[in-house]
């Protein structure tokens, strides 16, 4: 069984938001709904000594899932391969999971009366394809793969770089790893 994960190389991300739009189009989301915003921090410093970093955000596909625990109807689920998803047929839109998620990754779709979020494009993953945001990224700043495959790019990157998982201290054990370093450490 695979164990899916994503590595995001913030040294490569240029904040173009191609992933944001690719995701919206793929998931046919209303204009005000975004699964994976790109947050730009900066430019920080004082001209001309500046620094800027872009941090793409999405569902962290945690191993310990406060959202799934909070769901009263069993609509929020975690698959064996690690993908956390919502069975829309069972979702009643109560938003308990929205409150529970420490990453703000779950969004209420007012029109449909349900909660939605990134599910690593499980429809594509089940076809053997990579998530839409990963394919769309010119910069190859998003890398998707299987943590149980020692030859996968994600395993290699995680083992050869200093990576960070957001709010790791909560014990949620996200499947999204960030390579974060100053520009000088690019090489």
């Amino acid at each position: 069984m695979a164990r899916y994960a994503m590595v995001i190389d913030t040294r490569r991300c240029i904040g173009c938001q191609s992933c944001t739009v690719a995701c919206k189009v793929h998931n046919e989301l209303p204009v005000d709904m975004i699964y994976n915003p790109v947050t730009t921090v900066g430019p920080t410093g004082v001209f001309p000594n500046l620094h800027m970093v872009h941090i793409p955000l999405l569902c962290m596909h945690c191993e310990n899932t406060p959202c799934v625990d909070a769901c009263p109807t069993g609509a929020s689920l975690r698959r064996e391969d690690g993908i956390v998803w919502i069975n829309e047929k069972k979702c009643v839109g109560c938003k308990a999971c929205v409150m529970a998620c420490p990453y703000g990754a779950r969004i209420s779709n007012q029109e449909k009366g349900i909660v939605q979020k990134c599910d690593f494009c499980l429809d594509r993953v089940d076809m053997g394809k990579i998530p839409r945001c990963v394919q769309s990224c010119h910069q190859k700043a998003r890398i998707f793969g299987d943590l149980d495959d020692p030859n996968s790019e994600v395993v290699k990157l995680i083992n050869s770089h200093h990576t960070v998982r957001l709010l790791d201290e909560l014990g949620s054990k996200p499947s999204v790893f960030y390579i974060y370093g100053l520009e000088a450490q690019m090489r």
């Binding site: 739009v21 204009v31 430019p43 001209f47 001309p48 500046l50 429809d123 839409r132 010119h138 520009e183």
Partner: protein, 747 residues
């Protein structure tokens, strides 16, 4: 692309199409069934984008059948700009337009018909062919702002423009006024890959851009001071002995003159002009000169500086030449035109335009390099050396601001008709108020477009044009590269849309050019172009499906075999005989930005801030895509950048609406208070109009309200004397908050 899309369903075909929302033409796979595109994704096998698509590329299907698209030929029924139209057939529209053009030619001469284009989103060799056969020399684009002055000056000095950068062997690249992080994603990707392997990146840009943030060295120069910086680089490279003495000795002419000429241009001289420290100027020049081989990548910045443009481009060309970064592995390559396929120029029928008509080209008497006088000279030189010549469309055109002025004044002669294809001049050309007046004034106007733009709204006829997935595309750098990338149409054009090629062809046939248009479809014409490559494809589509690209084998240092370079002397002419013969300085002479505090202290008192306009930003391209909410939400309103120190001085806070005013007029954008720009610098966004508003006179969807081209200058004396390019950058402006009573829409 929808969820759960079955890529393997019965009857589905995968078409090798491309994106058409900028001229990178990223490869796109279109999944088509029953002549409908059901899904698209980036083509992982395409050499440039390798599967990636930017935010624009991703919305191709929303663009394809957007409810605001123009789908049928429209004829104006009300007054100009009143917004009343009737739908007619293509045949009727073309018959009527042809009759009107014939009548104008009869009465005023063929030169009274002009045509305006935008960026390369069309088959403009066909436009040129039509115009040549019709007899008018007055076609133009805003190509002056984009590469064309660079191409022609570099060709004058080196015998061809070294625009092919051999990045994989390079150690250092200079991104001079280029921001691939927002305008050229495939390039940015390759730069990032190579940077991890040690490539040094120097970014020269007044803004801390997406690209500057990923660079080894960032030079935030004063907008419009590129010439001073380039001259100081030449000084450092020559007087610190960092040039390539063997290359200079054997392959360059005029080094002594150049060395004497730039002696005065020390980094200390440049410091107050560029706002960069002499140390930083030295450090950057050394980084480029000492990390060989290296590249200087072209960016639009130097093409958009008006009177200082030509000299700045010239100086940049010389930096490359004296460091020997020309045609060697890892440097900037002089490929010459393709000798293997039929080039765009060979499709243009330039030989059919009489000398008498060429002489009437508007602007040719003032700006000689990009018009028939300079082009003929360069074409002759190029023919002799390479055997073929650069594309005349783009490289040899009427001077756009002079044509707009001719419409208004009748000087040098009346211009009565304007055929507009793939451009919205009100927002894209300089001095928008003047352009708008001209569009209102011109007797007869036809616009070919996807949308009802402010320009289309003023037209007599608006014709629906096929877009990205509905047309085939050959990508070949304005017809000047020695390679080509070929893409096919995914589906037939929807509704009554047609390819722009068919517009020119069908119009030509109605005006007696029938024998000259043997290719019924654009695919037929493309097949004719690629046939000499010898792939043996029976159709253009077959070529795309089996081959898709043609890349010739890379040849370095061709000057060794060819006995020199393609200039009159056979050497790189640091002291340019071609420019001298045309009456210009053979060496780059310093001239300040069009408006600056040193030459114009009184002006600077009234307009104390330095303005730069025209740079690209995501998710828009030029003046496009404002209609599409799925990208517009990323940047829903116009913003300009201002440093916090300056903002505080003017009492401006983040998000305030602010008037920005130059001698030409004012427009308003919202304040983005950011450290990304220096104090006293104002950088605006380009292109803005508001499709969500009423497309009617006098507001025309707010086409002047936040339009940065209201501020730019196109006066003859502000234009580059060589190329005629006008001034988007290095201007002076003042700013003041929009009063609470002025916030209603419209100017």
């Amino acid at each position: 692309m929808k969820r759960n899309f079955d890529f393997e369903q019965e009857g589905i075909q995968v078409k090798k199409s491309c994106c058409y929302f900028c001229h990178q033409n990223c490869g796109v796979l279109a999944y088509v069934k029953d002549d409908k595109v059901l899904a698209i994704e980036g083509d992982p096998d395409f050499p440039t984008n390798t599967g990636g698509l930017c935010c624009r590329g991703n919305i191709a299907l929303l663009h394809l059948d957007h409810p605001d698209r123009v789908n049928y030929p429209l004829r104006r029924v009300g007054k100009r700009g009143e917004g009343k139209w009737e739908t007619i057939s293509w045949d009727q529209a073309l018959d009527e337009i042809a009759a009107k053009l014939g009548q104008i030619r009869e009465e005023y001469g063929a030169e009274a018909v002009a045509t305006a284009g935008g960026t390369q989103r069309t088959d403009d060799w066909a436009r040129r062919r039509f115009m040549n056969l019709f007899g008018s020399p007055n076609g133009f684009h805003n190509s002056h702002l984009c590469w064309i002055p660079t191409f022609m000056i570099e060709t004058a000095v080196c015998g061809w423009s070294p625009f092919e950068i051999d990045l994989s062997y390079s150690r250092c690249i200079v991104l001079w006024g280029q921001n691939p992080g927002a305008s050229n994603m495939p390039e940015m990707h390759h730069l990032s890959e190579l940077r991890q392997k040690g490539l040094k990146i120097i970014t020269i840009d007044p803004r801390f851009t997406e690209t500057a943030a990923k660079s080894d060295l960032w030079l935030p120069l004063r907008p419009g001071s590129d010439l001073a910086l380039a001259l100081a680089w030449l000084h450092v490279i020559i007087y610190e002995g960092l040039y390539d003495p063997v290359f200079v000795e054997n392959y360059c002419e005029g080094f002594g003159e150049l060395a004497n000429h730039v002696e005065q241009y020390t980094p200390e001289w440049a410091e107050p002009l560029t706002w960069l420290s002499a140390d930083l100027i030295r450090e950057s020049a050394r980084m480029y000169a000492m990390n060989k081989p290296g590249n200087i990548q072209w960016g639009v910045a130097m093409d958009q500086q008006g009177r200082a443009s030509g000299a700045a481009i010239h100086a940049r060309t010389l930096i490359r030449a004296i460091t020997g970064n020309l045609d060697a592995p890892g440097s900037d390559l002089l490929t010459g035109p393709s000798l293997e396929f039929i080039t765009d120029e060979e499709m243009e029928a330039n030989e059919y335009l009489s000398e008498e008509q060429k002489a009437k080209q508007i602007g040719a008497d003032k700006f000689k390099l990009l018009t028939w006088p300079g082009y003929s000279k360069i074409a002759e030189m190029s023919k002799k050396y390479w055997g073929k010549v650069p594309t005349a469309e783009w490289m040899c055109e009427a001077h756009p601001p002079s044509v707009f002025r001719a419409i208004l004044s009748g000087d040098p002669y009346p211009v009565k008709a304007l055929l507009v294809s793939a451009t919205n001049p009100v927002n894209s050309y300089g001095e928008s108020k003047l352009v708008l007046d001209a569009l209102r004034e011109v007797d007869f106007m036809v616009t070919c477009d996807y949308w009802m733009t402010p320009t289309a709204a003023l037209s007599d006829y608006v014709l629906p044009i096929a877009g990205a997935l509905e047309r085939p595309t050959i990508t070949s750098s304005y017809g000047c590269s020695d390679f080509l990338l070929a893409s096919q149409r995914a589906i037939k054009p929807m509704y009554e849309r047609r390819n722009d090629y068919n517009f020119w062809r069908d119009l030509g046939i109605r005006l007696g050019q029938k024998d000259m248009w043997p290719w019924e479809t654009v695919e037929d014409a493309y097949l004719h172009k690629i046939e000499p490559l010898g792939y043996g494809s029976d159709s253009y589509d077959e070529f795309v499906e089996y081959w898709r690209f043609h890349f010739p084998e890379r040849q370095y240092q061709k000057y060794l075999d060819k006995g020199g370079f393609g200039t009159p002397s056979g050497k790189i002419e640091l002291y340019s005989s071609v420019l001298k013969d045309l009456g210009y300085s053979p060496l780059p002479e310093y001239v300040g930005p069009v408006e600056n505090e040193i030459d114009h202290p009184e002006l600077a008192e009234e307009y104390p801030l330095v303005l730069s306009t025209g740079n690209g930003f995501m998710p828009f391209h030029h003046s496009e895509h404002f209609q599409i909410p799925d990208v517009r939400f990323l940047n829903s309103e116009p913003y300009f950048q201002i440093n916090p120190e300056t903002a505080e001085e003017y009492g401006i806070e983040e998000g305030d609406w602010v008037w920005i005013e130059t001698q030409r007029g004012r427009m308003k954008q919202k304040a983005d208070v950011t450290q990304a720009v220096a104090p006293r610098v104002i950088i605006t966004q380009r292109g803005w109009w508001f499709p969500e508003r009423k497309m009617k006179e006098p507001d025309l969807a707010g086409c002047l309200e936040s339009n940065t081209n209201v501020l730019t200058s196109t006066r003859d004396e502000d234009c580059c004397p060589l190329s005629g390019t006008w001034a988007n950058r290095g201007l002076l402006c003042k700013i003041y908050k929009v009063d609470s009573t002025e916030q209603k829409e419209g100017n």
